[in-house]
């Protein structure tokens, strides 16, 4: 492998020559489409979309050190990042569990970003108890015929393929009858309907299968062994989760402090409402404590100082913190916090109100607060059940 400094130099040279100025804005939705398309092709050709995957599957073949160096250079140059379910979740899972045939067929498409994937795990009836899923796959020759419903599927309306959990053994205990299977979305028997949420947004879809077909050879991992595969995949998901502190949908444009100052006003340098003032201070203290706790966990682990695991703690306190921020925001606006759309409301007020609604999900999705507390009591505090 190339010497690290030389490699960085090489990356910088490529970026200087090939990355247009118009794209050097980090990840934004308003980048010029044609330039972005070209750049993604170039990224794919160089193996830079999946730098640490083997070259035979379209990856960059880089080790951890070089991968990190590449990402750092891309970030420094404010290059747009290609992230997808294929890159962050399905790819690593296929590398671990896929057959050689599956890897050859699917990984290069992902590393060139030519096929878009979506995830079919949750079902209306399953909730926190994912393994209770009911979507059925019945074998007919060398195909499975799939019937059922998925929900909370991001990007289903734009996806070409789906990786999906289906029940393939109807008599086995619930965790043991599930398979992980891949099939195309563009076929008869697959219908996608947008899912409107309480904030009026529709980023998710419901997906209905009525006789959709998947090749038997597209089962990933052992037949009826899909639960293990999915758990591993979800670990990849978690490692990219919860990075923003604004809750589902990211941070608001204006900081909560500035927002509340505008809504409530200052008198003698203090927020005019003492209750809102204390709630805001308590929230800001909480935010500090959470972020210091996450940092301490990393540092304690690094220093080998034994401590209780704080992952589940972080998740539920983060959810509460995010929801509390929006509670304060809306309450500080009074009736102006009740707007749905203009006129009559500031954009910032509408933004907060919508966030107030959608962040209710932060204590539900990705493991409810109740699940996190169960985990803490059992695994972290070791209280026998």
């Amino acid at each position: 492998m190339a010497d690290l400094e030389a490699f960085k130099e090489e990356v910088r040279a490529v970026l200087a020559e090939r990355l247009p100025e118009e794209l050097r804005k980090g990840n934004r939705s308003d980048l010029p489409h044609d330039l972005l398309g070209k750049w993604i092709v170039e990224m794919g050709d160089r193996g830079w979309i999946t730098p640490d995957w083997p070259t035979e599957y379209g990856g960059g073949g880089l080790d951890r050190e070089h991968t990190a160096a590449l990402k750092a250079e891309l970030k420094k140059a404010k290059a747009p990042i290609v992230s997808s379910f294929g890159v962050s979740m399905l790819g690593p899972t296929l590398l671990e569990y896929g057959t050689e045939e599956q890897k050859k067929e699917f990984l290069p498409q992902i590393s060139k970003n030519t096929v878009r994937w979506c995830q079919g795990f949750s079902e209306p009836g399953s909730g926190s108890d994912l393994a209770s899923l009911q979507c059925r796959a019945e074998k007919e020759g060398d195909e499975y015929v799939i019937t059922g419903q998925k929900i909370w599927t991001t990007g289903a309306d734009r996806a070409d393929w789906i990786f999906c959990l289906v029940r393939t053994d109807f008599d086995a205990p619930k965790h043991e009858g599930i398979s992980f299977i891949l099939f195309p979305m563009h076929q008869e028997g697959v219908k996608v309907a947008p899912l409107t949420l309480i904030d009026g947004s529709a980023h998710f879809s419901q997906v209905f299968f009525d006789g959709a077909r998947a090749k038997v050879s597209n089962v990933v991992g052992p037949l009826n062994g899909g639960w293990t595969v999915a758990k591993r995949l979800l670990q990849h998901e978690r490692s990219t989760d919860g990075s923003s502190d604004g809750g589902i949908g990211g941070a608001a444009k204006e900081s909560i402090t500035d927002f509340v100052k505008r809504q409530v006003g200052l008198e003698n340098g203090e927020l005019a409402d003492p209750t809102i003032r204390e709630r805001l201070a308590a929230h800001e203290i909480d935010k500090r404590a959470l972020s210091l706790t996450m940092r301490r966990a990393v540092e304690e682990a690094r220093a080998g100082q034994r401590a209780r695991d704080i992952g589940s703690l972080g998740k539920f306190r983060w959810a509460n913190m995010v929801k509390n921020e929006q509670d304060i925001a809306v309450d500080s606006s009074g009736s102006q916090g009740l707007g749905w759309e203009g006129p009559g409301y500031e954009d910032a007020q509408i933004e907060r109100t919508k966030k107030w609604l959608i962040t209710r999900a932060d204590s539900i999705w990705g493991g409810t607060n109740e699940i996190q507390k169960n985990v803490i009591a059992k695994r972290v505090l070791g209280i026998p059940e």
């Binding site: 949750s122 209306p124 009836g125 909730g127 926190s128 108890d129 209770s132 929900i151 909370w152 899912l195 409107t196 949420l197 309480i198 009026g200 809504q263 409530v264 409402d273 209750t275 809306v330 309450d331 500080s332 606006s333 009074g334 009736s335 102006q336 916090g337 009740l338 707007g339 749905w340 759309e341 006129p343 009559g344 409301y345 109100t353 609604l357 959608i358 209710r360 999900a361 204590s363 539900i364 999705w365 409810t368 607060n369 109740e370 507390k373």
Partner: protein, 371 residues
Amino acid sequence: MAVILSEEQLMLRESAQTFLADQSPVTRMRELRDAFDDTGYTPEIWKQMADLGWLGILLSEDHGGSDMGVADLGVVLWECGKVLAPEPLVSALLLGANAVRLSGNQTLQKDLLPAVAEGDRIVALALEETARFHPYNVATTFSGGAISGTKIHVLDGHVADQIVVVARTAGNAGDREGLALYLVDADAKGVSITRNRRMDGRNAATVEFDGVEVGADRLLGDADLLDQVIDQATVGLASEMLGTAEEAFERTLQYLKDREQFGEKIGTFQALRHRAAEMFSELEFARSIVRDALSALDEGRADAAVCVSAAKAQASKASRLIGAEAVQMHGGTGMTDEEEIGLFFKRLKAAELSLGDETYHQRRFATLQGY
């Protein structure tokens, strides 16, 4: 003091339940929200409410009413709250027309109230000027026979035929002294109305008054009248909240009994059971204290204002807890627009923040109690 329902109220409740179950499922409110038509409520239902006598409950028989009490209207509002009926009962009856009813202006009463009872006239109250509720924070002026200023949060102001305006003849924003209430036609010269769409599917309006000329014969009263109107409307709103919170609680309770996770009904999980017990206790508290406030008003008890603030504070507290828990316990389902629990959640928040939130009423309670 009456903390339980009288025989007449039990009958009123039953007839309201029958009517609303038949004519006003929650789906009606959703359709109105999605259609976003000119009214935001169903005029036919409003007319039927008039036929049932609801719109005249507070009015004297002279004015086409039945001369009953706020507690009776509270029974109707409680039931309306359960089905999220969006008709302008609080806004047009308890805020708008009530200012006329409680005024000393018999000419305007004769002119207006019979039409209110018939459901032919919508009267709104234009009071608030700041984001957070503070009834005396009025900068709108009445000067030289004309009103100028901008009002926000005028509930159902977009459908008002007439508007009761709170203006200032003296003093500064924040003063209780110097306030005067006038009745203005919505189509008078200098009045402009902008509809504001709310997250609970209801509507308010921003109303600008640009030198609107008003005769002395349109004067209704001063801050004493305003206080009376707000107190009655606040308890009316609290009654409606109670219905909404109660229905949200019952639906959540049913969900706990029905929904399975990990092979068990989620209602078997003790943590959720204990939280359900907490919700139940807040709801029962709200029920008792709202009913007490209703009867305090009807009896003209000396401590009625204290009872009103206690009621709205507790109704807001219960609403907040029950709304939050209802969504959380419904899990992902509760996050979808399709599931009706979200509609209750939004309405509870809107009611919580209207006419003074929990903190506002705690402070008012403290002030009235002398600390």
